[in-house]
Subunit: 397 residues, 2 copies
């Protein structure tokens, strides 16, 4: 009688959340320090001090009627100006603040994009492994999710497979770099190759194909490489961004969606974005958090803990004989399971109180995701458990 | 090529916003004090001091990783407990915190409800005049909006018409009391009559009919009357609430959705609500504003300005010979236009720098809405203009 699809979505336990809850229970039984919960991608470093200062300064000095009032649905002009300025300075991009739409985090930016662009049965290609909510968001917007493989060694797009999956119904390609769950960055050569493929396919099919870049981890890069900002390479591009990770504010839902200044029909697309935001019930980005942005947009949380964790964990696991994708960024390590079925492997890891997410949730088999946004102490304490897990499999074979 | 419905929704100027922008321009030309903008329903009183104190106290004392972290999608348990406690104390209701789902304002509560409950072509009945976004939200959730009339003199439901409009496809009846745009409160007798009708119709059609009460103005009541809390009268009921008006925090998007503890299949409905929230891209209510609620839920902004404005304006307009619905609550006065076409009347009002919203936007003809959430000074200064407008029509006739 009610909407069964929605009921199912609400019922189905997220494997990640279930693992995390199992960890909470286990901690009560055997002690916090003995459970190595690597399930959740929740920032483990504080927001920059300037965020705290701005919240207090604004609350103390701005008239509360103004500070907490409605803004226009796309957000305050001076906030969008500050974001455009920061992007243009950092990436030499040509972003117009009139094509930025402030959103309640990247998830809202994604649902608004899909609802604005898709007509029934339009196809959206994602590259496995991928963030599981893409499927939920695309299907809710009446689109069809098509999964393209990545190269099993590099976790970069398999361009042959991608080319084969593009057809006359393809409306959007979603990329997510640095990637959740692999940590891999799409460097400039990959972006150029992708842009060239899409340009060719647009000509072949005589219609626009949008490149949607979901980049909440854009500032979390540990290698010496300039981030190839997508609008510099491909005209029909949109960016979904969140300050959740860069400012360590995940619960405050602060992000934006932007349309490239070179996008075909950019103003019409922006109107559809306004319409989609409206029809999904988004009124405006929280005003207090809009107000902090003109200053805070220029800061990033201290990422040194993530880098330290990554180096420690990656080096130790490789030394033990694990195979893992080298993480250029984000805060995930993608490790090959020690048996074919990653679910069974993750279950065995639980015997050593290691909570790892099987890659099946991300549309790929045979790996586990380790979220290393934890304390460095947890990384260090977990290493003997990883060693025992490896030995357990060595004994079995 | 993109989604045309969304484009249209983004394009179509909201008449209210257009009026407001016209007012901003006019103010630049003829001075702020000479324009009487009654278009927008934006709270004009500050939030209670405790809100400011809590934002600063929490920011100063809670570890920022905790204060700004993700919460579960339905919100923190202690926050939902505090809301349930306040409702049970105030209304002697039997609300369970497990059936409360925190939302980014009442708009999100509405879109999540419609998406959770509706299947394609299910009918949702609203009672004219009604908040225009109901149509947008219902249609985006694949439902069909059915408009029932209200009694032209009282602006209460026309029960004969309502009964005629209920059929086998009716899934939801939406009420909004105190009402935008009329300010009318549905007192206990109206709610009992409505509940009885729906109980009878449920039996007749052998399926659940949900009563959805959209009540952002619940605390803005100026008459001596206890608010009839809907779950005390009808089992299959849901409440959409926002703190936008009660705490004067419209831009911060703080609200909730609750399912009656006596609702048939309440847990299944709650699951569908979780699924709908997820698929629309809502992750959680802003964590900082969740944290302020356990204390702030017990406060209401000072409404004396609204009451003063209402008394001044209503009494003055009646004395001049206007006909208006007596506003029990909210911050709107609903006035009969002085000619048949409310659009023409509102246009003529502009000649006297009075910005009034024609009732056509609310699904009814022949009235204008005056938002009196302005300064008392604006009310006083506007009275000569209202007088001249009346005289203008007297001369014409």
């Amino acid at each position: 009688m009610i909407n069964n699809k929605m009921k199912k979505l609400g019922q189905e336990g997220s494997i990640i959340r279930e693992l995390n809850e199992y960890g909470q229970q286990l901690k009560k039984q055997i002690g916090e320090d003995n459970v190595f919960d690597f399930s959740i991608g929740n920032p483990s470093v504080p927001c920059p001090e300037v965020v705290k200062q701005e919240i207090i300064r604004l609350t103390n000095t701005i008239d509360p009627i103004t500070l907490h009032s409605y803004t226009s649905a796309n957000g305050l002009k001076n906030v969008r100006d500050a974001i455009a300025l920061q992007l243009n300075k950092t990436y030499n991009a040509n972003i117009s603040s009139d094509l930025i739409y402030l959103t309640s985090g990247a998830s809202a930016a994604l649902t608004i994009s899909f609802n604005a662009l898709l007509n029934k049965n339009d196809e959206v290609i994602v590259i496995a492994p991928f963030f599981p909510e893409y499927k939920v968001f695309v299907e809710k917007a009446n689109g069809k999710l098509v999964v393209s493989n990545s190269d099993i060694k590099t976790c970069l797009p398999d361009f042959n497979d991608l080319e084969n999956k593009i057809n006359s119904k393809t409306k959007i390609i979603v990329i997510n770099s640095p990637n959740n769950p692999t940590g891999v960055l799409y460097k400039e050569d990959v972006i150029i190759k992708l842009a060239n493929l899409l340009k060719r396919k647009q000509e072949e099919y005589h219609h626009d194909i949008y490149l949607l870049s979901d980049e909440p981890y854009r500032e979390l890069i540990y290698i010496d490489c300039k981030y190839p900002f997508i609008t510099n390479y491909y005209d029909n591009s949109l960016v979904c961004y969140s300050f959740s990770k860069s400012l360590s504010l995940p619960g405050e839902r602060v992000g934006y969606l932007l349309v490239s200044n070179s996008c075909h029909n950019k103003n019409v697309i922006y109107q559809a974005i306004c319409g989609a935001g409206r029809s999904l019930g988004f009124i405006c980005l929280t005003t207090l958090f809009q107000y902090i942005l003109p200053i805070c947009v220029n800061y990033v949380a201290d990422l040194s803990t993530y880098k330290e964790n990554k180096d420690l964990l990656y080096n130790a696991l490789i030394k033990m004989g694990y195979q893992a994708i080298y993480p250029d960024g984000a805060f995930y390590l993608y490790v090959k399971a020690l048996e074919e079925d990653a679910n069974l492997f993750a279950n065995n890891a639980k015997k050593f109180n290691l909570l790892l997410v099987p890659s099946d949730s991300f549309g790929q088999k045979g790996f586990v995701r380790i979220s290393y946004c934890v304390t460095t102490k947890q990384i260090i304490n977990s290493l003997p458990a990883f060693k025992k897990l490896k030995e357990y499999y060595q004994k079995r074979s």
